[in-house]
């Protein structure tokens, strides 16, 4: 990967993705074997700037940096930081650049990470920008898909909030680099936004859209389920119209192929019934665990570029 920053999935070529995933597989094997990893970045400090809540992304970046021998500094909650005093993001990242060797940024506004990357010299990773992109999640999604089903000749169904779902936007864009058949299943009001649709069209992706999961479920290798994100809706009434629209339970999956892999970026609310958790279909906790080796690989590549 030649870039200094990772702000959007569209930056990633197939070779970039494969390089991260191959490196992640090495870390994964080392972590799984219980052997102690050499401290590759003992002097490195990663700055975590999360303007929105996070569990998995933040903790897995923290774990990844520590497993690489480095450490983290955490801006903490927005309420307890100078953001509360009205500090701009541009100022905040320029200050934090002096504390860390890289910045992981989550922000409620689309384009925040790209803007931040223009103000600093250290690598910036977009850990979610509003309803925009979440490219590091995409890398761990692709890792999980590659392990479970392979990335070529893949048929994937992506279900739920396609309009506001940043994991969906990044994943769909990245899959255009592979031989994937993409089926998008959502209520009419939550279809993919125009910008993602444009990218898929430009890439010549094989895409179909549906409003019913039954139309496509039997064909799928992977079912990627997303939460309808209440916090992104400008209007509560609009949210209520579509809340609970797609709920996956044992009955739903009667029509699925035996080898189907069910994924979810988590957190879930009621999209996947707990009864699925113990079946062979469920892969979402494994997916979350993959965040550590994949983010180790991403940090390794970005930090080594920057040395």
């Amino acid at each position: 990967m030649r870039q200094d920053h990772l702000v959007a999935a569209g930056q990633l070529s197939r070779a970039d993705v494969e390089r991260v995933l191959d490196r992640a597989a090495e870390f994964d094997a080392a972590l799984g074997s219980g052997e102690s990893l050499p401290a590759r970045y003992p002097e490195t400090v990663l700055a975590l700037c999360f303007y929105e809540p996070s569990t998995r992304t933040k903790m897995s970046f923290e774990t990844a940096m520590k497993r690489l021998g480095g450490d983290v500094v955490d801006m903490g909650s927005v309420d307890a930081s100078s953001v509360k005093k009205g500090e701009s993001l541009a100022d905040t990242v320029r200050v934090i650049e002096g504390y860390g060797d890289g910045i992981v940024l989550r922000h409620p506004r689309e384009g925040a990470a790209r803007m931040a990357s223009e103000f600093v010299d250290v690598p910036v990773v977009n850990a979610g920008d509003g309803a925009g992109q979440h490219p590091s999640q995409t890398l761990l999604d692709l890792y999980t898909i590659r392990e479970a089903a392979g990335l070529d000749d893949l048929t994937i169904g992506i279900v739920g909030d396609l309009k506001y779902g940043r994991t969906v936007h990044s994943l769909a864009t990245a899959l255009t680099e592979f031989d994937a058949h993409m089926h998008f299943v959502s209520p009419e009001s939550l279809r993919l936004p125009r910008s993602v649709r444009f990218d898929l069209h430009e890439a010549g992706a094989q895409v179909r859209e549906h409003t019913e999961l039954d139309d496509v479920l039997p064909e799928l290798d992977v079912l990627y389920v997303t939460r309808i994100q209440r916090e992104r809706f400008p209007d509560e009434d609009e949210y209520q119209k579509v809340a609970g629209e797609f709920q996956i339970d044992g009955d739903t999956l009667d029509a699925a192929g035996d080898d189907l892999t069910v994924m979810h970026p988590l957190p879930r609310v009621d999209e996947i019934a707990p009864e699925i958790d113990d079946t062979d279909y469920a892969n979402y906790f494994e997916q979350a665990h993959n965040g550590v080796p994949v983010r180790m690989a991403l940090l390794d590549l970005l930090l080594s570029n920057h040395e």
Partner: protein, 153 residues
């Protein structure tokens, strides 16, 4: 010169923008950052008959020669515009607008959640597509009503 173009008089030195879409002249002036405060002459003819366009607008800006980069921004709202640079009442150079690869600082992003609409020290920037514009920050695409998003001066 046709009678229609004589609605505004010849200028000695400056730039004549012709074949602007009817009704677009004020947007054109806004895009160019011309509001009359410079103290030099600006003539505007709006919705004059045109054989080629039905109606068109014409703008004459005195004592200012617009650069190619400046006129290229006009392609966003006046893709068929012609630009004549005038010295001593004579046209010394004709330019056509060409679509630039990107434009900065002339449009506001219509996405209210875009970082460029927060109180940040950042200039808007759009990549120019074949049939629209794309925000370089949030990736929002604008296809219709580009003039509605002008944010200049």
């Amino acid at each position: 010169m046709s009678d229609h173009e004589l609605r505004v008089s010849k200028i000695r030195d400056g730039t004549v923008l012709d074949h602007l879409p009817g009704g677009s002249a004020l947007h054109v002036l806004a895009l160019l950052g011309i509001d009359g405060s410079e103290g030099t002459g600006v003539s505007v003819a709006m919705n004059v008959p045109s054989d080629r366009m039905g109606t068109k607008d014409v703008v004459k800006v005195e004592e200012r020669e617009l650069s190619q980069a400046e006129v290229d921004v006009l392609s966003l709202i006046a893709p068929r515009a012609t630009v004549n640079i005038v010295q001593e009442y004579a046209v010394i150079e004709k330019k056509r607008v060409e679509r630039p690869e990107s434009v900065a600082g002339v449009l506001a992003c219509p996405n209210s959640s875009c970082i460029t609409n927060a109180d940040e020290p950042v200039t808007t920037r759009f990549d120019v597509l074949d049939d629209g514009l794309r925000c370089s920050y949030c990736e929002e695409i604008i296809r219709e009503g580009i003039a509605d998003h002008l944010d200049v001066g």
